[in-house]
């Protein structure tokens, strides 16, 4: 009677370990990394669209140099900052990236306001195509951001809830992840300046 009970206890311990979230935590962290990769590819896609956009606008609105330069500068700044999955738990790095991307978003929205003054440009097919692509990309970034934040919420909650929190502090030592917040610049409506 002794040996079977010992065996059975071992069996239960093995089960309990997986029941304590050891596997679930790892899968959730992987889900966060995957959601982040999706954001990054969309941010990259946006950055790739910008040189073409700037060229097209230049052809019609050459003397809007200042706005165009701001977009180009914001783009190169945003492209220079990237986060590896290991940095997702680093608040400072995340803040830096958010600021750079937010800067690009607001530079772009200023450009779109300036463009309103040029009906010829707005009627141009390649500009309209670029605009569709840019809008589509912004929307993709938004969707990817929401999904990333959901994955982070799920992960952060699970490392704090009881059995998994113990597993994490004893075995896994996974860090809390940072949210990717909506950019401060994206919420402010750009001012229209009619002169």
């Amino acid at each position: 009677m002794q040996r079977p009970i010992k065996l059975f206890t071992l069996f239960l311990i093995a089960l309990t370990l997986s029941g304590c979230g050891y596997n679930a935590l790892q899968m959730k962290e992987e889900a966060v990394s995957k959601a982040w990769a999706d954001i990054e590819s969309n941010l990259q896609r946006r950055a790739d669209l910008i040189p073409n956009l700037v060229e097209t606008v230049k052809g019609y609105a050459g003397h809007e140099k200042e706005t165009l330069t701001q977009v180009t500068e914001a783009r190169s700044k945003a492209s220079s900052i990237q986060l590896s999955p290991a940095d997702l738990g680093n608040p400072a790095a995340m803040k830096q990236l958010q600021e750079a991307q937010g800067g690009l978003t607001s530079a772009l929205s200023r450009l779109m306001v300036v463009v309103e003054k040029y009906p010829d440009l707005k009627a141009n097919q390649s500009f309209r195509d670029l605009q569709s692509q840019l809008e589509g990309t912004e929307n993709r970034i938004n969707v990817a951001r929401q999904r990333y934040n959901q994955a982070v919420e799920d992960f952060n909650a699970s490392i704090r809830v009881f059995p998994a929190s113990l597993t994490n502090s004893l075995l896994l030592h996974l860090q809390k992840k940072e949210y990717f917040k909506a950019e401060a610049g994206a919420q402010a409506v750009p001012k229209v300046n009619f002169k």
Binding site: F8, L15, G19, S132, G136, N139, R140
Partner: protein, 293 residues
């Protein structure tokens, strides 16, 4: 009387859980009635049946689901947010290949959007979607001719995605995610045989271990869900009890009677299928274009 009281508490708990589910959202996603969902009532019956036939045929030929939704108003919600929610809940397009797209029209706001599933993003790009909206649909809409605008728009969408998938690219139907109830049956049967063999004289102990062990299996194989756990506690309780009784003679097939009982688990997740049409499980990532008229 104690077991009955426990059962009653369990049922009460179950009831509370069922009622507490259901997120609150700005604008609820309407039910998927068919390929053409004209909630704004801007289309003629002839247009609806014409579109429905064309889209049905298209799905058979191309394994691609295109769906139209018109709503009277967005009630202040953002078009893009609403659109992605519709896409996430309807799951248009086939699973794995994500071959679906939705044409959404909001009448009062005079806005429309083409929401494109991952699998069609290569053909129905943001650029192409934008052109379909601005050059094909909006001119008709501006004249108030919704029928023509939608027909032309859907035709253009079909043209755009033609050839992306063939009729043969139908993936076999599979259970969702790694939550595979079938994978749980064998270890569970072994567990009960184990239990019955070693605790055949002690039925309460077998029942108690069953009630604890069975939910642990559930956590491992099915993921966390209170309802599943509750059901598994009950299953484990009786399973342990029965196993210890049946196997007291020293081993005739303990798993035998558990097999069919567990078969019911797999089928329980199938949703209701309204009017013979439903989304195939396609995923969306916010691709497509928006416009107004």
């Amino acid at each position: 009387m104690a077991p009955f009281r426990a059962l009653r508490i369990c049922l009460l708990l179950l009831g509370t859980l069922l009622f507490s589910i259901g997120p609150v959202q700005a604008l609820t996603v309407p039910a998927l009635k068919g390929r053409v969902n004209d909630y704004a009532q801007i289309l003629s019956p002839a247009t609806i049946s014409q579109l429905d036939n064309a889209l049905k045929y298209f799905e058979q030929q191309e394994s691609t689901q295109l769906v139209v939704l018109t709503v009277p108003t967005l009630e202040g919600d953002s078009l893009e947010d609403f659109s992605i929610r519709v896409a996430e809940s309807w799951k248009i397009g086939q699973k794995k290949i994500d071959s679906g797209a939705i044409l959404l029209v909001a009448k009062q706001e005079k806005k429309l959007r083409i929401e494109v599933g991952y699998g069609l993003e290569g053909k129905l790009t943001d650029l192409v979607s934008g052109r379909i909206i601005h050059d094909i649909i909006v001119p008709s809409f501006k004249e108030g001719n919704f029928d023509q605008g939608i027909i032309n728009g859907v035709t253009a969408m079909m043209e755009a995605v033609k050839g992306e998938f063939s009729a043969k690219s139908v993936p076999p139907k599979k259970n969702s995610k790694q939550n595979d109830p079938a994978g749980m049956i064998v270890p569970l049967v072994i567990f009960f045989v184990f239990l019955g063999n070693f605790l055949h004289q002690n039925r309460p102990a077998a029942a108690a271990i069953g009630a604890v062990g069975c939910p642990l299996f559930g956590l491992f194989f099915l993921g966390f869900s209170w309802i599943t756990l509750l059901i598994l506690v009950i299953v484990g309780l009786f399973g342990g009890l029965i196993a210890s009784t049946m196997l007291s003679g020293g081993g005739h097939g303990g798993g035998f009677f558990l097999g069919p009982g567990f078969g019911g688990f797999g089928g329980s997740s199938s949703g209701d299928d309204s009017g013979g049409f439903s989304g195939g499980g396609g995923d969306f990532g916010g691709g497509g274009a928006s416009g107004d008229w």
